[in-house]
Every structure is written in structure tokens, then in C-alpha cells.
């Protein structure tokens, strides 16, 4: 099933983009909107956690690794501890496998490199459709 077929079934996925880099937030927002996502952006992990505490929910969270105030691993651990079970995908420009491993172990479903590509988003859409 292609991503276009998924979208024409009327299913609209929501995504929370968590990144302190405003260029990445802008690029990812436009890219995800093209795939039919409804996107919301925040600048750090604490803002993401606060959104969930306020009752908001998203189908997908794109979580940057390094952010001020609260980083990706900490925010991911807190969200999972709160019982958040939607897909959380780590997005990182760090190259070290050990860092990606530690981030994944915080509770990610996947960890990908940024900036995201159309191919990555298509794969994520296919995974979301399975859930």
C-alpha cells in the first residue's frame, strides 16, 4: 500500500515535531504537510511533555536528540513513563552509534538521521498505518 493510498482512505495522521533548530522545524513541517500530516512544532522536550500533560495527543512524535531545557532521551523517557504509547521517532545528526543506541533505549520506536527525506516519511506512514 503506497502512502497516497493511505491518505485517500481519509486517515489524517498528526505529528509533533520537537526540535530546537527552527530551520529543521520549518523543513520538516512543510515536508510532513505535503504527506498530509497535521503538524505541530515545539522547541524542546519539556514543551512536548507539557503538551501531553495538557491532554494533547499525536500519532507520531519526531524527537530531536539534543535540545536545551529537556533533551530527546529525557523527554522520551518521561513520555513513556506517562503511558504515552504512540510512535516516537528519534531524529539526530549525531553520528555515534552509541549515542543513537542510548537514545533508542530511552523508548524510541526508531531513530533516523536528519534532515528527513520523502523515503523515510513514506516508511513511517506505512508503519503508522499498521498500528
Amino acid at each position: 500500500m503506497t502512502s497516497n493510498n493511505i491518505l485517500t482512505l481519509g486517515q489524517k495522521f498528526s505529528v509533533l515535531i520537537v526540535d530546537d533548530d527552527k530551520i529543521i522545524r520549518r523543513i520538516h513541517k512543510v515536508l510532513l504537510n505535503k504527506f498530509g500530516f497535521e503538524s505541530h512544532t515545539v522547541e524542546n522536550g519539556k514543551e512536548a511533555v507539557d503538551l501531553y500533560l495538557s491532554g494533547k495527543h499525536f500519532d507520531l512524535i519526531l524527537m530531536d536528540m539534543e535540545m536545551p531545557v529537556m533533551d530527546g532521551p529525557k523527554a522520551t523517557r518521561e513520555l513513556r513513563a506517562m503511558g504515552v504509547n504512540n510512535m516516537i521517532v528519534g531524529v539526530t545528526s549525531r553520528g555515534l552509534d552509541s549515542e543513537k543506541q542510548a537514545f533508542t533505549e530511552a523508548g524510541l520506536d526508531y531513530c533516523v538521521e536528519k534532515p528527513l527525506t520523502s523515503e523515510t516519511i513514506t516508511s513511517l506512514l506505512q508503519e503508522l498505518a499498521k498500528k
Binding site: K22, I23, I24, I27, V30, S93, K114, P115
Partner: protein, 162 residues
């Protein structure tokens, strides 16, 4: 009729110049495929997307380069802070496909890790140089694009991405 033909020929020349200039930027390693991805995201709902994102990159880079200069000038150099700034600059240059700026950040981070002030200072000069180069080239590219649009043309993305 003659005027119309002349205008078409001028437009074709502008579009050829745009293609050649862009191809050279990729060939010389100034830009990578991420830059092409930005044009793919530009459409009627975001007609100025590429200029908008590249402008954000210019603002970010100038701020970070100033921060790096100040940080390296301190009596006691905070390499963690420098590494954080370089990491940010690497991230934003990578986001727009500014390959040579990104690569110069990679070298910079290695010398940060080694806590080598002299080499870090050289890296900063290299980063500044690469940034100024790509800034000039992208500004020239956008100027060409404006001329093409003003002459009634459009950028053929498929052609220049091949």
C-alpha cells in the same frame, strides 16, 4: 514579433545560465542533494520556501560564527560551548545542503574534542570562508532566479536536478 523572439531568447539564456551555475555549485561541492530537496518542497502554498529557509540559515550562521569568535577569544576557552555552537552550525548547513560548510564543521568538532585552540581558530577561519562563499553564490543564484521570473519564465527543477 521580433521583440517577442528577442525576449524568448533572453529568457532561454537566463535559464541556461541558471542551470549551468547550479550544476557548477553541485560539481564543486558547495551544495549537495539536500538543496534539491528544498526546491521539491516549494510550491504555490510555499512559493518562497527556498529563499525563506536559506535566509534562516544566513541569520543562524552569522550569529553562530560571532558566538564562536567570542568563545575562542576567552581567557579560558569553553570547548563544550564551542562544540555545541559548531554542532548547531553543522546541523543548519546540512539542512540546506551547504556541503562545504558542513564538512568544515566536521573538522572543527574534531579539534574541539582534542581541545586544540590553535587548530580551532584555523577551523573558524575556514568555516567563515566557506560560509561567505556559499552566501555569495546563493545570493547570485536567487538574483538569477528573480530575473527569470521577471522575464516571465520559471525554474525547471527536473532539468537542473538531473
Amino acid at each position: 514579433m521580433v521583440q517577442a523572439i528577442k525576449r524568448i531568447m533572453e529568457l532561454n539564456q537566463l535559464q541556461r545560465s541558471f542551470l549551468e551555475y547550479t550544476a557548477a555549485l553541485f560539481r564543486e561541492g558547495f551544495l549537495d542533494s539536500q538543496f534539491s530537496q528544498l526546491y521539491q518542497l516549494q510550491d504555490e502554498s510555499n512559493p518562497e520556501f527556498v529563499v525563506e529557509v536559506v535566509s534562516l540559515f544566513f541569520e543562524d550562521s552569522e550569529r553562530l560564527i560571532n558566538d564562536l569568535s567570542r568563545a575562542l577569544d576567552q581567557t579560558i576557552v569553553d570547548f563544550r560551548k564551542i562544540d555545541a555552537h559548531v554542532h548547531q552550525l553543522k546541523g543548519s548547513s546540512s539542512s540546506i545542503g551547504a556541503q562545504r560548510v558542513k564538512n568544515s564543521c566536521v573538522s572543527f568538532r574534531n579539534f574541539c574534542e582534542a581541545q586544540n585552540i590553535e587548530e580551532c581558530s584555523k577551523c573558524l577561519q575556514q568555516v567563515k570562508q566557506e560560509y561567505l562563499l556559499i552566501k555569495n553564490k546563493l545570493e547570485a543564484l536567487f538574483q538569477l532566479e528573480k530575473q527569470i521570473v521577471a522575464a516571465g519564465g520559471a525554474i525547471n527543477m527536473v532539468e537542473w536536478m538531473l
